[in-house]
């Protein structure tokens, strides 16, 4: 009798579960896109986060005045697409006026006004907030409002990327909701976990560690999105994220590794979308003594030693064996994303014989026949730092160790967690390290950050006035052609000085379910155009039709 009751209850539960779904939506605007996300955003307030995972959500919830167009041009205003600003004009070379779209509304129903733009600028330039956009806005003197729909940017000087700086980094914030939040508490503001923006998707729910959901704003002033629900499923392990995709539980995964790409290729209902990746990886030499940044490094302060090690590296072979076509050897420190990628730059080729000769000429010879070069009783060797979390960089460390061994250089690999690695880089407590960078669409900020003296991530302590002048010329160029010419000189100088060995720039590949149509991925922000994607009515599946309670 008891068994029957238990079975009866179980059957009832199963029946209730099966019948409980309310299946309703049909038509053009029913799609639900499930994104398998390999991590969770830190906070959903643009000035308080520099997180790429948060940026994917910002692209949907918040709007910019204008955004990059398909060309990816960052010089002048050509090719930029209007968003909150329906048009703009230059009052003079240093004054830029935006006219806002009167139809734009915050998700709480209030209209978006010029004072919101001025407030956003104020927040992003406030040191207490420490916005990642602050450095890019350094040459914007002030932002004023002319009327409720007109906002004026006053620059301290005219320069080629001034329009890009004004629009690309500023996601407009609701002044009426944030004005009362103390600036030094932006990172913990409650609105950062339930954001209110003016984008085409409004925030619905964030279940910590599980999922984040946005719903389409059918009245969006930029046009009604076709896909009505965007759901990020947080899946810390990328392999499991791809398994979700293959099992039909997710629709898209934006960043496939080479082994995962093989798995996806065998699945008939998935399509892959390659796009130029924003990542590049290199071996950085510390040009100062390990742990004492005031003294030159005993090995790497010597440009010829750095060049010799570059010559000893067969980068092409490493890329082929590790990436199977999903990466390229960059001519300099640049991702595939940048228009400045220039295959005609004079690079240091793989030539281990030349490397050996160069090291010998600097006095490094194998006097005792143990396979390692030495000079004045000192062995030629160094420590190579790499993060434990990157399988590819750990693999590269071993390949490099073997290639350097062949020219008589002993490398000791030290694997540390990301946090320790960053701390050691920051304090100069390393000889060489395998570093990866994610770049903005423009090289201006990235190059300054990593290679200019005083740059926040210039861990090599590279400091060459010739390079700095070339950089100033490149960023001051007023035409696209002059800019390209200027960047060529910048990168050539870096290649010649070899403060690093440029190892690989990855090709990003997203995988998406076939039912998603009109997919366009912008390399710097894959989901930026998600509002234009659609799932045609004949390709809807159960989860597309489910109505929220």
């Amino acid at each position: 009798m008891r068994t029957r009751v238990v079975v009866g209850v179980l059957v009832a539960v199963v029946a209730a579960a099966a019948c409980g779904r309310r299946v309703g939506c049909t038509g053009e605007y029913c799609g639900t896109l499930v994104i398998a996300a390999p991590g969770e955003p830190d906070i959903l307030l643009p000035p308080a986060s520099d997180d790429a995972r948060a940026a994917a959500v910002f692209d949907q919830v918040f709007v910019k005045l204008a955004d990059l167009g398909p060309s990816g041009n960052t010089i002048g205003d050509a090719g930029f697409v209007p968003e909150l600003a329906e048009k703009w004009e230059w009052d003079n070379p240093r004054t830029l006026t935006f006219h806002l779209n009167a139809a734009a509304r915050w998700h709480d129903g209030r209209p978006v006004r010029a004072e919101d733009v001025a407030f956003t600028f104020d927040v992003n330039t406030d040191p207490a907030v420490n916005s990642p956009a602050r450095a890019s806005l350094a040459r914007v003197r002030r932002v004023t409002t002319r009327d409720s729909l007109t906002v004026v940017f006053h620059f301290s000087e005219a320069y080629p990327e001034m329009f890009y700086d004004a629009v690309h980094h500023l996601r407009i914030l609701p002044a009426h909701l944030l004005r009362t939040v103390p600036r030094d508490q932006f990172r913990t503001a409650a609105i950062g976990r339930a954001p209110v923006g003016a984008g085409c998707y409004r925030f619905v729910e964030w279940r910590a560690g599980q999922s984040l959901e946005l719903a389409a704003d059918s009245t969006c002033f930029l046009g009604r999105p076709h896909i009505r629900r965007l759901v990020w499923r947080f899946t810390p392990d990328p392999t499991v994220a791809v398994t979700q995709l293959l099992a039909g539980e997710a629709d898209v995964f934006e960043y496939l590794s080479p082994p995962d790409l093989e798995r996806v290729r065998t699945a008939g209902d998935l399509v892959t979308y390659p796009y130029a990746g924003p990542y590049y990886t290199f071996l950085v030499f510390n040009l100062r003594t390990r742990g004492d940044t005031t003294l030159p490094h005993p090995l790497f302060a010597d440009r010829e030693i750095r060049r010799a090690l570059t010559l000893a590296t067969d980068r092409q072979q490493m890329v082929q064996s590790v990436f199977a076509g999903l990466a390229k050897v960059p001519p300099g420190p640049m991702p595939l994303l940048w228009a400045t990628w220039d295959s005609t730059l004079r690079v240091l080729p793989f030539d281990s014989a030349a490397a050996g000769r160069l090291l010998g000429a600097r006095g490094w010879r194998d006097h005792d026949g143990d396979g390692v070069r030495d000079k004045d009783g000192q062995k030629l060797g160094f420590e190579l730092l790499t993060p434990t979390t990157s399988v590819i960089r750990r693999q590269y460390a071993r390949l490099l160790q073997e290639q350097f061994r062949r020219v008589g250089v002993a490398v000791e690999i030290t694997e540390v967690d990301n946090n320790v690695m960053t701390q050691r880089l920051e304090t100069g407590n390393f000889d060489a390290a395998l570093m990866s960078r994610i770049a903005d669409p423009s090289p201006t900020s990235s190059v300054a950050l990593v290679w200019l003296a005083g740059g926040g991530s210039n861990y090599s302590h590279y400091d060459n006035p010739v390079f700095a002048e070339a950089y100033a010329r490149a960023t001051g160029a007023t035409t696209r052609q002059a800019s390209m010419y200027g960047w060529r000189a910048v990168f050539q100088q870096l290649i010649d000085d070899a403060p690093g060995i440029w190892l690989y720039s990855q090709q990003s590949v997203a995988a998406m379910h076939r039912r998603v149509a009109d997919v366009r991925l912008r390399p710097d922000a894959p989901y930026a155009l998600a509002r234009t994607w659609r799932i045609p009515p004949d390709r809807l599946i159960d989860r597309d039709r489910v109505e929220r309670r």
Binding site: A17, D50, D184, G209, Q210, V240, A247, V416
Partner: protein
């Protein structure tokens, strides 16, 4: 009994305090620093890190920080997470129910399956079925938890599509279901992670149970029970198993720490947002308040479960008198 319970609880508080102190000191002395980005492809300026350290009081001497932290914990305050930008209590409140649910489910699988298998093997000792089950349990006992998890995901999630691939619930339909449907949805998501944790534990428990049962089966009172004409089933279940299960109950208390540590990998593989994952992420990002609070909570759970295990032993074995010297 009351005195015993009070003594054990006082000892538990002391253990938790010791864990708090050790964790606090070790995490602060560990290399690395909070407020750095989770990946090394972005950077935060040293002046910003210095400002954040000041803001959170990390620029003060360690003993001062420790005393301040003790004061906060005494008032039920665990501080604010450096990486999640929200109160630690909130982060724990999200994670603990998931870990408790997973832990209980895994314990149920571990002990029901382990005891049943062990008893069955002992009843058929040295037969083919016993040998086969011994090999099988040894296999599961040797398998790394994450490997088993991935294998189960591949078979039941990707190939057969019987069970969901990770998560606590279906983010699309869960809220649209009636309560029974939501329970069923959660159970479906629980099956694979609980089985992964539970199967590995069950394999160990089965081996313990088999050995304990074999020892009991040859006792005089079992021979007497058989001589009285009781059925073999009754002899095994009522007389042998009740005594043979006692050492396994002690295992219950010892299993909890392993469930918590094993949960880190299982929670990662199955995207199960529990305490293990929370603590591991916090360690990597040097999120001191979360690490310390998670350690306090884990220590408290282990200490309490040990007390519960002793109580269970006393319940199962009338010879055990709590309070007369050692408990069990």
């Amino acid at each position: 009994m009351t005195a015993w319970l009070l003594r054990r609880l006082a000892a538990s508080v002391a253990i938790v305090f010791a864990v708090l102190t050790l964790t606090f000191v070790l995490i602060h002395l560990a290399p690395g620093t909070p407020f750095l980005p989770s990946t090394d492809d972005r950077s935060v300026g040293p002046e910003i890190i210095a400002r954040l350290r000041r803001q959170y009081g990390l620029d003060r001497p360690l003993p001062v920080q420790y005393l301040k932290y003790i004061g906060s914990v005494a008032h039920g305050e665990f501080g604010e997470s450096f990486s999640q930008h929200r109160p630690v209590a909130q982060a724990l409140a999200d994670a603990v129910p998931n870990t408790v649910l997973l832990g209980i489910a895994a314990l149920v699988i571990e002990f029901t399956l382990g005891i049943a298998l062990g008893a069955y093997q002992a009843a058929r000792a040295r037969r083919r079925v016993d040998a086969a089950l011994s090999h099988l349990t040894l296999f599961f006992y040797s398998v790394p938890t994450f490997w088993l998890g991935l294998a189960l995901l591949l078979v039941f999630g990707q190939w057969l599509r019987w069970l969901p691939v990770g998560g606590v619930s279906d983010p699309i339909v869960h809220d649209t279901l009636p309560w029974a449907g939501r329970v069923f949805d959660t159970l479906r998501h629980l099956v694979l992670p609980a089985c992964t944790l539970g199967l590995v534990g069950a394999a160990g428990t089965a081996r313990y149970q088999r050995a304990a049962m074999l020892e009991v089966i040859h006792q005089d009172y079992i021979r007497t029970a058989r001589a009285k004409g009781l059925s073999e089933r009754r002899v095994l279940l009522r007389h042998a198993l009740r005594n043979a299960v006692l050492p396994v109950i002690t295992l219950l208390g010892l299993s909890l720490p392993f469930l918590l540590t094993g949960a880190v990998l299982v929670e990662t593989v199955f995207s199960w947002p529990g305490m293990g994952k929370l603590a591991a992420d916090a360690i990597f990002s040097r999120d001191y308040p979360v690490v310390t609070a998670a350690a306090i909570l884990a220590a408290a759970m282990v200490a309490l479960s040990s007390v519960v295990a002793d109580l269970l032993t006393a319940l199962a074995d009338p010879r055990v008198r709590l309070g007369d010297g050692d408990a069990a």
